[in-house]
């Protein structure tokens, strides 16, 4: 009886602890505001995470082209730093994840302009 309870206790502890220990899933829509000299633009970056953790992304500029998802050829997240680039538009982004894990703070560069 004691062995059974001990093992059940450990199993329950592991089941409770596993989600807390699991790496966060970054997939989903990340909403952001781009401040430009002509005003603010709302952007949505849709991140998808494959089983192995590899990221793919699409970017939508809600105010400029609603519903049009632009494929992001290069996207990476490492050491709390998100980077992505769309060479066709000369656009790059680099942002740092804040400690809560819910927000990236960063800058968009387009050609030589910093936004």
């Amino acid at each position: 009886m004691k062995k059974l309870i001990s093992i059940l206790m450990l199993l329950v502890a592991m089941l409770v602890a596993a989600p807390a220990a699991a790496q966060d899933n970054w997939a989903g829509d990340w909403h952001g505001t781009l401040t430009t000299p002509r005003g603010q633009l709302r952007l949505v970056l849709t991140l998808r995470q494959a089983q192995g953790g590899a990221l793919t992304a699409e970017l939508e500029s809600i105010d400029q082209a609603p519903g049009q998802k632009i494929p992001v050829p290069t996207v990476a997240l490492a050491s709390g730093r998100l980077t992505f680039a769309i060479p066709a538009f000369g656009l790059t982004y680099e942002g740092v994840l804040d400690p809560t894990g819910n927000r990236f703070n960063g800058t968009v560069h387009q050609s030589s302009t910093c936004l």
């Binding site: 004691k2 062995k3 309870i5 093992i7 206790m9 329950v12 966060d24 709390g80 809560t100 819910n102």
Partner: protein, 188 residues
Amino acid sequence: MRKPQLAMALAIVGFLVVTALAVALALLAPDKLRAALLGGLALPLLWAAGEFLTKGDKTSIRFAVAAAAAVLTIALSGKVAKAAGLIAPDSGLSQSLFGVASGLVLAAYGNQIPKLLQRYDPTVDTARRQAFQRQAAWVFVLTGLGSAAAWLALPGDSARFWGTAIVAGGVALVLARLLQCRLRRKGA
């Protein structure tokens, strides 16, 4: 320190550490309140259940409480370290440590699991039962150590794959052997 006193001391220290981590997580990251509550309440509830459901010497229960506390400590400390900015939010460190701890727990308790599998079946031949228990215990201990080694040595994705595959393989092997024993008994 005698064994019962050591078990009690480890259980109390584990309880205090897990509670402190749960409170720290709730304060540092209010959006992780669910994880903090689950982690913080799991141990006292499990401990209380263990104490109330068993009679006599509770040393083994308290050692299990200490082991459960270690597992919860690893999971919660990773979340707290991320919330405090001590490690990168996308770091896989706490997941790797949790994998190592889970493997070691399986190795430590591996010899007890097979005893439970055939415990309540009096019709099984004693020699065959003991042989099965010995083999299954070795499988669990080795798969636990193998899984811990995989989590320790391999990078994130590979560790997740091999750490899980080794344990799943071990469990499948033991269940197949258990089934084989039962089929033989029925056929005999």
